[in-house]
């Protein structure tokens, strides 16, 4: 079943410049989809457009068959999509636990089981639950950010460069957690510069360049593709 589909999406920040040009994307339920491509290719912009932070100029985005094109982020979040921005993705002066609570802001039910699950997934956060998120290390912050997004019990998780600026050991750990999250049934779209690792765990991968689709194939096929290597390290 296709959980998310973006068709011919065109978007940009300033009127004269389109960052995305008729981009297409499909995510099947339970998949990890990785989006790779050089900086400025529009990867992060695509995530922002899916989540309604940026309104597309053209094209449609459907989630589980519903048209969600141009909805506000809070409406989209209610439909079961969570988004983790690349930078500034925690509330620094709130404690870890309060950060998680904010993730569950739109839920009116008891979210303690969900919080337990997040703590199971990231045990270190349980230890630091009373600490302000601004005092944590980069990796721990990334965990808080992901934990916050998971509090909605989303069906689809959008991750924008979760490995950016992290130490290698941390990167490995975060990627393992992403797979763990996926194993609980959450579909994931991940934008990464760390292409190899992102493709390794991906069911499907998309390569973007200059705001356009260049390639898309299974993760394994892309890994083996010489073109992909070229895009990363030049000809």
């Amino acid at each position: 079943m296709i959980i998310l589909e973006a068709k011919n999406v065109t978007a940009g920040y300033t009127p004269e410049l389109n960052i995305l040009n008729k981009v297409n994307l499909k995510v099947k339920s339970g998949q990890i989809v990785s989006i790779i491509g050089p900086n400025g290719a529009g990867k992060s912009t695509l995530l922002k457009t899916i989540f309604g932070i940026l309104k597309p100029r053209e094209g449609t985005i459907t989630f589980k068959g519903d048209d969600i094109t141009g909805l506000n982020p809070d409406r989209i979040a209610r439909k079961g999509i969570s988004y983790v921005p690349q930078v500034n993705n925690v509330f620094p002066s709130l404690t870890v636990e309060e950060n998680l609570e904010m993730g569950a802001f739109i839920r009116n039910d008891d979210f303690t089981p969900q919080m337990e699950e997040v703590y199971e997934l990231f045990p270190v956060l349980r230890e630091k639950r009373g600490q302000k998120a601004g005092q944590l290390s980069g990796g721990q912050r990334q965990m808080v950010a992901m934990g916050r997004a998971l509090m909605l019990n989303p069906e689809l998780l959008l991750l924008d460069e979760p490995s950016a600026g992290l130490a290698p050991l941390m990167v490995e750990m975060i990627f393992e957690k992403i797979v763990d999250i996926n194993n609980t049934g959450v579909s994931i779209i991940i934008v990464e510069q760390n292409a190899r690792e992102a493709l390794k765990m991906a069911d499907h991968g998309y390569v973007l360049a200059m705001g356009k689709n260049v390639l898309d194939d299974s993760g394994k096929a892309l890994l083996a593709n010489e073109e992909v290597g070229r895009l990363y390290l030049g000809g």
């Binding site: 900086n39 760390n194 190899r196 690792e197």
Partner: protein, 290 residues
């Protein structure tokens, strides 16, 4: 591949890097010694709230090169630029330009050493015309002293004319001349990138630090930008240090290429060396070589 140029004869000279660290100021003033170290970053560190953005980073830029600075996001490249240009003060470490320490100086003092930088997201003066954007840049304008505007109007006017002519020439060069009287804010993203480059030319810089000059512009403009950078380097002897993610651009344009990761220099070399360096592949592609 968008662009290719055969510059091997330039690079051979630099293949064997002299290990001499002492600056020869006489040679520098002639401006044609491509081997001398122009900019030296020595154990510079900067943290933001516990995050080490730049971590005891050491690197050097040689006179007359187009040095590429690459690395994964969050590697500290832009922060390093901000430190070099005086926007941030380093927590520790030293920076030397032509042998003089420049760390701790204010941005305008660093500018006066003929170091110019551009920004990843262009920062033009939106409510000023393209021509005014350029005419602002040159240092030491006598008309910037308010007394001179009243007491020496003719001298100010004469210098304005000079600066204007130079600005027109530069606009001609980057092919923005038809937009000279438009508000800079109304230009397209790519045109703004060219405007940044044009502004850097107005500064008569010895070195220009370019932060992602290629991000978000179309291939045609990109080629123009690369052409311009090369012409400036070869004909005017301007040194470039540029951050870029577009590998085509970096591999074709830059020599040497410095790779940063986690706030440190990871590797340095020519395009082929970088492409086959396992540490670089790991930093970029992730841990399969571990």
């Amino acid at each position: 591949m968008y662009f290719s140029v055969d510059r091997t004869e330039d690079f051979e000279v630099r293949g064997e890097r002299p290990s001499v660290e002492v600056m020869d100021m006489n040679k520098l003033e002639k401006g044609n010694n491509q081997n001398s170290i122009m900019l030296k970053v020595d154990k510079v560190a900067k943290s933001f709230g516990g995050l080490k953005a730049v971590d005891e980073c050491c690197l050097e830029v040689r006179q007359g090169t187009i040095t590429g600075l690459i690395g994964p996001n969050g590697a500290g490249k832009t922060t390093l630029f901000n430190i070099i240009t005086g926007h941030y003060k380093p927590d520790k470490g030293e920076i030397y330009f032509e042998g003089e320490p420049i760390h701790g100086l204010a941005p305008h003092q660093i500018f006066s050493k003929k170091i110019y930088r551009t920004f990843q997201i262009t920062r033009e003066f939106a409510q000023m015309t393209v021509l005014e954007n350029l005419m602002l840049v040159p240092g030491g304008q006598i008309g910037e002293k308010i007394w001179n505007t009243w007491l020496r109007p003719f001298a100010v006017k004469a210098q304005e004319k000079e600066i204007r002519d130079k600005a027109l020439e530069v606009l001609e060069f980057v092919e923005l001349i038809h937009l000279k009287d438009e508000y800079a804010g109304s230009l397209s993203g790519g045109q703004k990138k060219l405007l940044e480059l044009a502004r850097s030319m107005m500064a008569d810089p010895k070195i220009v630090l370019l932060d992602e000059p290629g991000a978000g512009i179309n291939p045609t403009l990109m080629r123009k930008l690369m052409d311009n950078i090369q012409t400036l380097c070869h004909e005017k002897g301007i040194t470039f240090l540029l951050i870029e993610h577009d590998m085509d651009l970096v591999m074709n344009l830059c020599e040497p290429i410095i790779v940063m990761s986690e706030g440190k220099k990871l590797a340095e070399g020519c395009a082929d060396e970088i492409k086959s360096d396992p540490r670089v592949l790991e930093a970029y592609l992730g841990g399969q070589y571990r």
